[in-house]
């Protein structure tokens, strides 16, 4: 469903990705682990279509489409979702308005009828209950004054609402205490299924005990240097990235 072939990319003339190959089938959960600066977040941003990155080689196919040719909103409509490492604040726009606008924008692009206020309310209430979120968070402005945990839960709420074919979680575990981490993981696990694949980007193994991946990849200096099953994550947790020429303390 997602096929990345020898992807090269640079920022300000500096090469960040040096030939990434990765294939994700429908419903699969993949984890990408790697030290700081290995290109994990760059990969996430390039998949989502953020400005400021230059793709210098390779290709990305998503659900049969040339992903790199699409605008960010078209990628969203095609079923690609990015859970942000640093969710953005939008003052004055209530969370529920934002969610409804996003959902209907995606539905419109997909040729589906838009939801009216009542239908939306019903849907959103069901989703917030599952994530143990209060209705209060729907009335507040998007991410404004949210704690770190609330922001990440809000990302998962958006994901649960938009039901993407592929969700890319960019260091969603950073800054979360164990309770918040479990709630986020529960949200992801609830959505897991044959129609929903995940690419979990993380520095630590911690999240992967709650979201158990089918495949684990190690990204170092812009290349996937090793792939394996979930046991690879445990190994990295024990030994760090030293064997790939990285000293964590540096």
């Amino acid at each position: 469903m997602l096929e990345i072939k020898t992807l090269h990319a640079s920022v300000d003339g500096k090469d960040i990705l040096a030939g990434v190959d990765l294939t994700i089938g429908a419903g699969e959960v993949h984890a990408i682990m790697g030290p700081n600066g290995s290109g994990k977040s760059t990969l996430a941003h390039i998949l989502a279509g953020r400005d400021g990155y230059e793709v210098t080689g390779g290709s990305v196919t998503f659900a049969g489409q040339d992903l790199l040719a699409l605008e960010p909103e078209e990628r969203a409509a095609a079923g690609l979702f990015l859970a942000f490492q640093y969710p953005v604040e939008i003052p004055g726009v209530s969370n529920s308005t934002f969610l409804k606008t996003a959902l209907n924008a995606v539905r419109r692009q997909r040729g589906e009828p838009e939801l009216d206020a009542m239908e939306f309310l019903k849907l959103i209430r069901a989703r917030t209950r599952r994530l143990e979120m209060s209705d209060d968070m729907l009335r507040r402005a998007v991410n404004v004054g949210f704690s770190g945990g609330e922001k990440k839960r809000n990302e998962v709420l958006q994901m649960a609402l938009l039901e993407p074919k592929l969700a890319v979680l960019d260091e969603t575990d950073s800054g979360l205490d164990i309770d918040a981490l479990k709630i986020v993981a529960d949200g992801v696990n609830a959505l897991r299924g044959p129609d929903h694949a995940f690419l979990v980007i993380t520095h630590y193994q911690r999240l992967l005990t709650h979201i158990v991946p089918d495949h684990v990849h190690v990204l170092v200096r812009g290349r996937i240097v090793r792939s394996g099953g979930k046991e690879l994550a445990d190994e990295l947790e024990r030994n760090g990235y030293a064997e790939f020429g990285y000293d964590e303390a540096a």
């Binding site: 989502a48 279509g49 953020r50 400005d51 605008e71 960010p72 909103e73 990628r75 969203a76 409509a77 979702f81 990015l82 942000f84 969710p87 953005v88 604040e89 939008i90 003052p91 004055g92 726009v93 209530s94 969370n95 529920s96 308005t97 934002f98 409804k100 606008t101 996003a102 959902l103 924008a105 995606v106 692009q109 206020a117 939306f120 309310l121 959103i124 209705d135 729907l138 009335r139 402005a141 958006q158 938009l162």
Partner: protein, 488 residues
């Protein structure tokens, strides 16, 4: 491609490119010859069959104006206006004043229909309570006022100011120029000399006006200035909410609009005055557009009276406008909520004046300026606390949002406090729409235009929510935004 460039294009699309009201109505008009002298004023006065006192007042203003100099302190730049190259009167040729809508030229009715302004009372569904009454001013004259009869049941007078001069001369004579004197400033003095029409509202003691009152201004004729005069009087304990809207055809030359609005609120009375200003702003190179030089002032004469200005300013090549409150009555309240959007070559210098005279008077100022393109957007505000204004309070918040890197936002607050018990607060912020915000919205499926709309809508929310519900939609569409707050 930088997101900011995209954003500029988007806002561009929202304003100048999509100016939907740029059409011209082909209708026979009667105009005064170009130019301004005492004969022009006598011509206007005679056309309106005015009493001698009003002609005298006009002439007094004109003589005063001749000795005045056009103000130059605002942060706006424009070529000199040739005051002799303007028609000061243009009116559709019809019989005297139409008695009913049936007598109004169908071409005019169609024009307002095209603008989305309902002028036919009978078209309302049976059993539905009307919520808005409209006075339609076309070039120099009022062409129709709806629901006058219904309002009369409550003792509310809502008519054109020409009709008020004829039917309620004692009220007009008592209040005209009592808030904005004929000698006030260059443009107000010009208006006093040549004003042609406008709206008049009187709400009697203890009456809550049952409908929103609205005046819709349309400049149609070429090389014509519009000089309207609005006078609203709220007797003790009364309440009225009034809204004005304005549009003009798309033309290559600039047209002058110099209006005066006077509000008087007596004891415990409240006036809520809202403006959705969408005059033609000119094209992307700054060709054409309306010069909007307007004097608006409200007097809170009575105890605990309240005047609230809300404005959404999106049009005009130049906006020069400072709706103000004179807080005379003890415990009176003044409010100013403003959204000013400028794009391309538009220039806006707008703000308010809050003059605290009475004890325990309070004022609130919330100004949101959004600049894009090569536009210049200035907030200019005065808060003055007079020595007797014991316990006066003011809160001012000025926020500016920049889109792109060629526009300007300026905040010029003047604060004069002559009473030690007064408390004056001023907060100001300037921000840019961030690429992070845009990308976040787009990743969730919003197109660039919708993303900008949503962010700008959020930025303006505090002001937009002050508009009467009936007009909020128009304003939101104008800002190019989706409906905010429909859920949750």
């Amino acid at each position: 491609m930088a997101a900011t460039v995209d954003t500029v294009d988007t806002v561009h699309a929202v304003t100048a490119q999509k100016y939907k009201y740029g059409f011209f109505t082909d209708i026979e008009v009667e105009t005064a010859p170009k130019g301004l002298d005492e004969d022009t004023i006598r011509f206007i006065s005679a056309k309106k069959g005015e009493p001698a006192w009003l002609l005298e007042w006009r002439l007094k203003a004109f003589r005063h104006w001749q000795g005045m100099v056009e103000p130059s302190w605002a942060k706006v730049a424009y070529d000199p206006i040739d005051y002799q190259d303007i028609h000061y009167y243009a009116a559709p040729k019809t019989k005297a004043r139409p008695k009913s809508l049936d007598e109004v030229d169908p071409e005019l009715l169609r024009t307002y229909e095209k603008l989305g302004i309902p002028l036919r009372e009978q078209e309302l569904l049976a059993g539905v309570e009307p919520t808005v009454a409209v006075d339609a001013v076309f070039d120099s004259v009022s062409v129709a006022t709806t629901f006058k009869a219904k309002l009369e049941e409550y003792g509310v007078i809502f008519c054109s100011i020409s009709e008020a001069v004829e039917k309620h001369p004692e009220l007009v004579r008592k209040y005209l120029g009592s808030v904005v004197p004929y000698s006030d400033n260059y443009f107000a003095t010009l208006n006093s000399a040549v004003f042609t029409d406008g709206s008049f509202v009187y709400v009697p003691k203890g009456v809550r006006c049952p409908m929103e009152l609205s005046t819709y201004f349309r400049i149609n004729a070429q090389n014509t200035g519009q000089f309207e005069r609005t006078l609203i009087i709220a007797d003790p304990g009364s309440y009225v909410s009034y809204l004005e809207g304005c549009t003009a055809p798309q033309r290559d030359e600039n047209q002058l609009h110099a209006a005066v609005v006077e509000l008087i609120a007596h004891d415990d009375a409240q006036i809520k005055y809202s403006t959705v200003q969408n005059w033609y702003p000119g094209d992307e190179n700054g060709v054409g557009g309306i010069y909007n030089f307007v004097t608006k002032r409200g007097a809170c004469r009575g105890r605990n009276s309240k005047i609230s200005w809300t404005q959404v300013e999106t049009g005009s090549a130049i906006t020069w406008k400072y709706p103000s409150c004179i807080l005379q009555g003890d415990g009176s309240v003044g409010e100013f909520y403003s959204v000013a959007i400028t794009n391309n070559c538009q220039q806006a210098d707008t703000g308010t004046k809050m003059i605290h005279i009475g004890r325990n008077t309070r004022s609130t100022i919330v100004s949101k300026g959004i600049s894009a393109g090569r536009s210049q957007n200035t907030y200019r505000g005065l808060v003055r606390i007079q020595p007797g204004a014991e316990g006066a309070r003011n809160y001012t918040q000025c926020d500016s949002l920049l889109i792109g890197d060629r526009c300007g936002a300026h905040t010029v607050p003047y604060i004069e406090s002559r009473n030690r018990t007064a408390r004056v607060e001023h907060e100001a912020t300037t921000a840019k729409i961030s690429e992070d915000q845009l990308f976040y919205c787009r990743q969730r499926g919003l197109g660039q235009e919708d993303a900008v709309s949503l962010i700008v809508n959020g930025f303006c929310k505090q002001v937009l929510q002050e508009l009467p519900m009936e007009f909020a939609v128009e304003a939101q569409k104008l800002v190019g935004i989706s409906l905010e707050g429909s859920v949750g």
